[in-house]
């Protein structure tokens, strides 16, 4: 294996020219599929694990939507499966909160962080920068297995006697620190913290690898400004992750101390379940600062890779260069920097200093500017193009539409005056599900449909892809658009039954409609999963090296690239990644030298 990885910088692999690396060493089942150090296999491992988690996390949302949509009805089948958690077929509050908490944790961290970045950073970085593998394939493998371990611990917390963590995905103390205050804060919470610790380790191992690969292992001629936007997006994502995940870890370590060692970092003046606790002098708000210092960059960790994927797919299928390449990079950079400076906008109503609040309003709304630039540039990219609606392209267009819808509601919440009213209401649920849930999923689906041929040498079924897209976009809007109105009415999030309230009882039929749509859209996602696994083995074969007629390097590798990616030398790069429709030519690959009469831009 080592000789395939004898690559240093750019041209170092020339010595191996012409060697058929793939046949050099024998791979066992274990080294090829389990403890693989091939970035492409690790990408698939992340993706499959992510898909499994997405099914679990999605199923949780279906379950708690049943309660929200039909609070009076009982579903005996729930008791069959969940026993005492759903006695008489009705979801118990403890179970409800466990479901919502795990839904959030699983989808945000395990699917849209690990499943998304893990898949596309691993797959695309070496292929698009022209490297044989990651800077450290071994660390890369460890990154996946740390994630796997985190998954096992998190999964096991579902089966504890007192249930998994149930204090919301943000696990604010004192609720999460005190077993006396909530069942979910007992052993489930410990497992949650352990799982997240492993998860952070996985993110750091992966992130450092992504950064060093992008910075050091680009092929000859691949200057930073010739990189596809996917790589830029993944670079900034990795930087955000490396800088912010350790802060979450520190917050969680202190939480663990408060839980078990009698410290008072977050606890003060607490009288719970009939007894006064000895802790004095801590600050519950401290945790929120530590949490959101990760928590806010986290939403960009989720959305930035999909911005990159969408940019790439929009340009390829419009047969037109991405508009404003440098502005796209600059706006990614601006988002990356601002992401660290806005965390306290999640805390406007915690009693923070009003002056400090106003600073965070300013910085928060600043992020709207780079986001707006990106949206306008995407729209200009498709303007006067020649658009091919592959399933990937449709999802990329859907991504832009949904990102606009969700981004605009951020202007409501980022403005502290409005946030006083809308904070912690269903408006917030609608906002972040659209902007980082649905739109990130759309970007991810776009990426999966688009790069599936590179992953498996086969296509996914197109018809199922189109059905998947159309049902999903219609349902996504049906579910989340009306929720904004529930938020305008001040309806708090995390309420499982509004029947005792005078102010929030007017949305009964709306909630039922949303639940029905949720079930439909979940079924269609299962169809996508089926399509994925079916096409892996039975999909239409890819017969040309470059099925989408794209310019980037991954399409210069063989249809089934081995470990090491290129059979011969790594190709040299002579131009940027977006020469589509230039000088009357449909596309010019990055590997083609610049002609003498070629116009410059």
């Amino acid at each position: 294996m080592s000789d395939t990885l004898h690559i240093q910088h750019g041209v170092a692999s020339h010595g191996h020219s012409g060697e058929p690396h793939v046949h050099h060493h024998k791979e066992t089942f274990i080294s090829k599929y389990i403890f693989s150090m091939d970035h492409k296999m690790i990408a698939k491992q992340f993706l499959v694990t992510g898909i499994i988690w997405a099914i679990i996390g999605g199923l949780f949302s279906v379950l708690f939507r049943l309660q929200l949509g039909f609070p009076d009805q009982s579903f005996p089948i729930l008791e069959t499966f969940f026993g005492r958690w759903a006695e008489g077929g009705k979801i118990k509050p403890e179970f409800y909160y466990a479901l919502t908490t795990m839904h959030g944790t699983v989808l945000i961290f395990f699917v849209l962080t690990a499943g998304l970045s893990g898949t596309f950073a691993n797959l695309l970085i070496p292929l698009q920068v022209g490297a044989r593998d990651m800077a450290s394939p071994f660390m890369n493998m460890l990154s996946y297995w740390m994630f796997f371990a985190a998954s096992i611990v998190m999964l096991s917390s579902l089966f504890t006697q007192t249930g998994p963590a149930a204090g919301g995905w943000t696990v604010y103390p004192p609720l999460s620190a005190l077993g006396l205050a909530s069942q979910g804060s007992k052993s489930g919470m410990d497992l949650w913290i352990i799982a997240m610790t492993l998860f952070v380790a996985s993110q750091l191992l992966g992130g450092l690898n992504y950064i060093s690969t992008i910075l050091n292992m680009r092929t000859k001629g691949m200057s930073m400004t010739r990189l596809p936007l996917t790589i830029w997006a993944l670079l900034f994502t990795a930087i955000l992750g490396v800088l912010s995940f350790p802060v979450l870890l520190s917050g969680l370590v202190l939480l663990m101390f408060d839980r078990h060692l009698g410290t008072s970092f977050y606890l003060s003046d607490i009288f719970v379940a009939g007894q006064a606790l000895p802790n004095e002098g801590g600050s519950a708000i401290l945790y929120q600062h530590l949490f959101w210092f990760l928590g806010h960059p986290e939403v960009y960790i989720i959305i930035m890779p999909t911005m990159g994927l969408a940019s790439e797919i929009l340009a390829i299928n419009s047969r037109k260069p991405i508009f404003g390449y440098m502005a796209m990079i600059a706006s990614l950079m601006a988002i990356c920097v601002l992401a660290f400076l806005v965390w306290a906008h999640h805390m406007f109503v915690t009693g923070m200093n009003p002056f400090l609040g106003s600073v965070f309003v300013l910085l928060t709304l600043l992020i709207a500017i780079p986001s707006a630039i990106k949206v306008f540039n995407w729209i200009t990219t498709i303007w006067r193009g020649n658009i091919r609606f592959t399933p990937g392209m449709l999802f990329a267009i859907g991504f832009v539409s949904i990102f606009i819808s969700g981004g605009l509601t951020g202007i409501f919440l980022g403005n502290s005056t409005i946030d006083i009213h809308l904070h912690d209401t269903m408006f917030v649920i609608a906002h972040f599900h659209i902007v980082m849930g649905v739109s990130a999923f759309f970007g991810m689906f776009a990426g999966i449909y688009h790069w599936f041929p590179k992953m498996f040498g086969r296509y996914m079924n197109n018809t199922l892809g189109y059905i998947h897209f159309w049902v999903t976009i219609v349902c996504a809007y049906l579910i989340f658009w009306p929720m904004h109105y529930q938020g305008f009415a001040g309806m708090p999030r995390r309420y499982l039954d509004k029947s005792s309230w005078v102010s929030f009882g007017q949305f009964h039929s709306l909630d039922a409609m949303i639940t029905v749509v949720t079930i439909i859209v979940f079924a269609v996602q299962l169809m996508f999963v089926f399509n994925y696994f079916y096409s892996m083995y039975k999909g239409r074969r890819v017969r040309t090296q470059n099925p989408w007629e794209a310019t980037t390097l991954e399409w210069t590798t063989p249809i089934h690239p081995g470990h090491g990616n290129w059979d011969g030398e790594i190709p040299e790069v002579h131009r940027w990644a977006y020469d589509y429709g230039k000088d009357g030519r449909d596309f010019i690959p990055q590997t083609e030298p610049v002609g003498e009469n070629e116009s410059s831009h």
Partner: protein
């Protein structure tokens, strides 16, 4: 049985969809992939246009039907709420324009520039003027929104007026408790280790502090005076809660160990709101907005906004907690004595423990006053 049936129908529907999808793939191979691709391209382009039109109609329809079900903008029941509503209106108009503009362009261009053999694409990698335009225009629009937002924010979070009525709000799993300072206008000191629900001290008031003797305690329901500013001093006993006041458009977290404040002026009485909404059961509600445990959904408080006379009348009917505690303690002593005569072994032990507890409390009070001052 019913479940099974639904399940069977789902599976069947799925198999049919899958078979059609598979067949269409075979057909496309037979007919020529390029030809099929062009045809589906047209269909999808048309669908995008249909989606835009239906979607825009849907947005209008949702606003039309759901708009009636929300608290109407401009109907806020507090002075600060009027500012919030106004800010909300400006933001809805601004973002609405951007929303319609960008969505229409996105889907219209997608439809218009669908693949066609006749078109040559326009090589358009960048244009500094355009990019500058859509950096500067959003920046200006946002500056205006931020400007209004921050001015309103300072007005809402600024210091409460001198004449504001003060009420202490305490959240705990899963109820709201309120304390009025009484005639002296001063809240007595409290310490969380003094909390003793069984002995009429749910807030942990320190009875040695005379300012506590006239403090009025109420649970579940808070009375406010219309047109009179009120300052809430908010705390929590166990975990973080949040005082959510949807009709007043306000909210403030209740954090154990870190008191917060919130002030506003209610401008409509409960009776006004009953008339305005046409709902005879209308009541202002206080909703916990921060996930606080299994009973979060039921953590409900009520607020009565009334005239000064009505309020004074209500306040006169309230008895301070201190007096209640004294009354409860007085008949307790003879009762203990009676118990002692009938059961001579248990009673002295009970008396001892009471004594010990009192000493404990006194020590705690001493420690508290030493530690905090």
């Amino acid at each position: 049985m019913q479940n099974f049936l639904i399940f069977a129908i789902l599976i069947l529907g799925f198999i049919i969809t899958f078979q059609i999808a598979r067949a269409s793939e075979f057909v496309s191979v037979i007919r020529g992939e390029e030809k099929t691709r062009k045809q589906t391209n047209k269909i999808n382009a048309a669908l995008l246009l249909v989606f835009l039109i239906v979607g825009l109609f849907g947005v209008y329809w949702a606003h039309h039907t759901l708009g009636d079900k929300i608290l109407k903008l401009g109907s806020s029941a507090s002075d600060h709420g009027i500012l919030v509503d106004r800010m909300l209106k400006y933001t809805i108009i601004t973002t609405g324009l951007v929303f319609f503009g960008t969505q229409i362009l996105l889907f219209w261009y997608s439809f218009k520039y669908q693949e066609s053999d006749k078109r040559t694409v326009y090589y358009f990698p960048h244009n500094n003027k355009l990019e500058l335009l859509w950096t500067v225009v959003p920046a200006i629009v946002l500056t205006i929104l931020i400007g209004f937002g921050i001015v309103y924010w300072y007005r809402i979070t600024g210091a409460a007026p001198e004449n504001a009525m003060q009420i202490e709000v305490t959240g705990s799993q899963f109820k709201w408790e309120f304390r009025y300072p009484g005639k002296d206008g001063v809240f007595g000191k409290k310490y969380y280790k003094n909390i003793d629900e069984a002995h009429d001290n749910p807030l942990g008031q320190i009875w040695e502090d005379a300012a506590n003797h006239d403090d009025v305690y109420v649970s579940g329901q808070m009375h406010l005076v219309v047109g009179k500013p009120v300052k809430l001093i908010i705390g929590a006993k166990d975990v973080i809660h949040s005082v959510g006041l949807p009709h007043f458009r306000l909210k403030m977290d209740a954090v154990p160990g870190t008191p917060t404040t919130l002030w506003f002026t209610p401008i409509k009485t409960t009776k006004d709101m009953i008339k305005e909404t046409g709902n005879s059961k209308f009541v202002y509600e206080l909703a916990c907005d921060q996930m606080c445990g299994a009973g979060h959904t039921g953590m409900r408080g009520e607020i009565i906004v009334e005239t000064q006379e009505e309020f004074d009348q209500w306040m006169a009917s309230q008895k301070p907690k201190y007096a209640q505690m004294k009354e409860a303690a007085a008949p307790a002593a003879p009762a203990a004595g009676a118990a002692a005569s009938t059961d001579s072994t248990a009673a002295p032990a009970a008396k001892d423990s009471v004594k010990a507890a009192t000493v404990d409390t006194a020590a705690a009070v001493k420690k508290d006053s030493a530690g905090k001052k």
